[in-house]
Symmetry: C2
Subunit: 179 residues, 2 copies
């Protein structure tokens, strides 16, 4: 009997799914996260490599040495057990994690201690931030950087959310200025 793979931690979830999708090296997984999910789910190298080894130890992923010339390289692939764990995670009924750390909004929450100009500056910067994110996402969507259906769908979510936030900030700017 395999050692009950506990529940997958945050890094394990995305790493396992990325391996399942065919990203075979730690490096490739990191790159794909940056390209595709970093706006709503990040992970850093320092977590990815150890996690891959843990997943191998748990039997959810298999490794094969696959050097390129003199460069060592590991080729990871998902196992049947890994596929089962991935499916279990994707379909499990527990409330999905949804967390935000929004510093601009926290600042606005305490805007009362500022003078009128500083308040407006605060909201204006919030708006600029979302505008810039929209611009970058639109550019990449136009370039066709998101080819897969679900990859594009989640990118469009990120774009829509930033558009909404930019619009909210524009309205808030007017409200704050009108004092």
């Amino acid at each position: 009997m395999s050692p009950a793979p506990d529940v997958l931690n945050q890094t394990a979830r995305i790493v396992l799914a990325m391996v399942a999708e065919g990203h075979t090296t730690g490096y490739a997984i990191k790159a794909e996260i940056e390209r595709s999910t970093r706006l709503f789910w990040g992970a850093s190298v320092g977590g990815i490599y150890p996690e891959l080894r843990r997943l191998v130890a748990a039997g959810l992923v298999a490794v094969r040495d696959d050097p390129r010339g003199q460069t060592r390289r590991h080729c990871y692939s998902i196992t049947d057990e890994g596929r089962a764990a991935l499916h279990a995670w994707l379909t499990d009924g527990s409330e999905p994690l949804f967390e935000m750390r929004n510093e601009a909004l926290l600042r606005l929450r305490f805007a009362a201690v500022l003078g009128p100009e500083d308040r407006v500056t605060l909201v204006r910067r919030l708006r600029a931030l979302h505008d810039e994110r929209c611009r970058l996402l639109e550019e990449r969507l136009d370039e066709g950087a998101f080819d897969d259906v679900y990859d594009r769908m989640t990118a469009e979510y990120a774009l829509g959310l930033n558009r909404w936030a930019a619009g909210w900030a524009a309205a808030a700017e007017a409200r704050v200025a009108r004092e």
Copy 2:
């Protein structure tokens, strides 16, 4: 010369601001965070009490013993230095932190490995989550739980964001079902 108070860490930012706003005990600060900011900026007891002591050590906050009967109690208040640090944070030009961990969206990103029914379930749950959050926020807004201008403004941001996300999920549900 006071030991350059470095930059405020995440917990320090909200704790200092809460003290400035007149929440005088660790307990009260925790309660206020739960009531007002937890949807976009959280903090837990285990961080708040030590942080209050660090802020006192840095001279940004002052303590006074203020027992209630036999119960020890600390009454925290902001110092001039603390006010300056708070103002510096609120007006500083660096890019504000904006992070999200959205598990439902991450699952959708990998929906390709699921069958049609499981995919629809995924999006339906995403929608249900945001609907529920909207319901709770609307209820509290109706009750007048957010009296202060900026407190209400940030609560309305949270409501608006969840409404947008619920709407997006509803549209996505239709798209995913139509396959």
